[in-house]
Symmetry: none
Amino acid sequence: MDAPGPITILLSRFEDLVSAGLRSLIGADASLRIVASDVDAGRLDALIAEHAPRVTILNFGLLRAPAELRRLHAAHPATHVIVLANHPTPGECSQLLALGATACLGKDVQGRDVLNAIHLASRGLHVLPHSTPANSGVGLLPDVLTPREADVLDQLQLGRSNGEIAQALCVSVETVRTHARSVFRKLGVHNRRELSGLSRAR
Amino acid sequence: MDAPGPITILLSRFEDLVSAGLRSLIGADASLRIVASDVDAGRLDALIAEHAPRVTILNFGLLRAPAELRRLHAAHPATHVIVLANHPTPGECSQLLALGATACLGKDVQGRDVLNAIHLASRGLHVLPHSTPANSGVGLLPDVLTPREADVLDQLQLGRSNGEIAQALCVSVETVRTHARSVFRKLGVHNRRELSGLSRAR
DNA sequence: TCTTCGGGGGAGGCGCGGTTCACCCTTCGG
DNA sequence: CCGAAGGGTGAACCGCGCCTCCCCCGAAGA
């Protein structure tokens, strides 16, 4: 019908097992072709611009903040972004779609679901995980950083002290400490050192 | 690992060409099996109850009102409903999802998209058409009924008057009118008549 | 000893959405 | 004419999340 060529795919960096699984799945589908894989956050822009992939599969954990997706989508509107997150909540998914993602999947989806989602997303159709209205309100809370927490995270990743951050953001040191605590808790780290280990990939 | 049998599908009544196309497409996929087709609105309940299909593909034009979907979903929560509409707007799609649909597609989608969507929807994943860039992101999901509005909708579908609803919900008539206005606005109808020919349809 | 950092709790304010209710108006049908 | 329904506006309250700041404590280092 309308197969002007294979669907070109760019894979961001994932955990090794996830990455291997994705490459294996996609390799088995003749209509899909990977043009780049294991792409770090820092090289995303350049490689998307170079290859202009129909689909970009993005590791949610690679994003400093969800808002970064917005910049990516604005810079490369032609590529459809599928975000792979660990256990996305309905709130997160809608937020990701609002920021420009075309699809949002959990890393626990089945392989054939990924392939189906790639085909649909390549033509712009949205795919979201199932939401169970019965229990969606209970349990999982959105682990997304608030705007202010993202600001503090930026400063933390620059190696600033609490006092310096307070000056930069024009708030008290106590406020910075509050935000930093939330950032640490949400990101699952305990101090600046573990945080810099996470962002080394940039 | 998870192929306990074919995905059972119930097809509502469609235009002849659409119906033939759907049956042909689905017949070509060995993992799909049609348990009923060309089902009228009046027989939907009985046949869904009888066959308990994993997926029901519903003709949007068959619905007397979008709200009827809500009753269907409430009565048969185990079946995933894919709504096929002619040219669904993003607003309509969000309403359909709010009313219990799992996926929403236009009748102009490609055949392989339908198959992909069936597989995804059979496991509860949402599929939506591409949203126009004009209003993409914002406004995709917010038109969901609040719990109280859903209560009022239930009462409205029972043919109750504002006063009766007020008594049933233990609130003032003015409150009922406020909620009813919101329900009408969110569902795109203007009065009880458009909302409910379904109270006597079953 | 002193500061900085991490962790805990809590208070006050602000904005937003949901709920409830109130007033106004027009339209329609018995 | 009168009552019900539909449409518009707005006020009040409440809960929640976010932001800001304060207090407490203990650990680590200069």
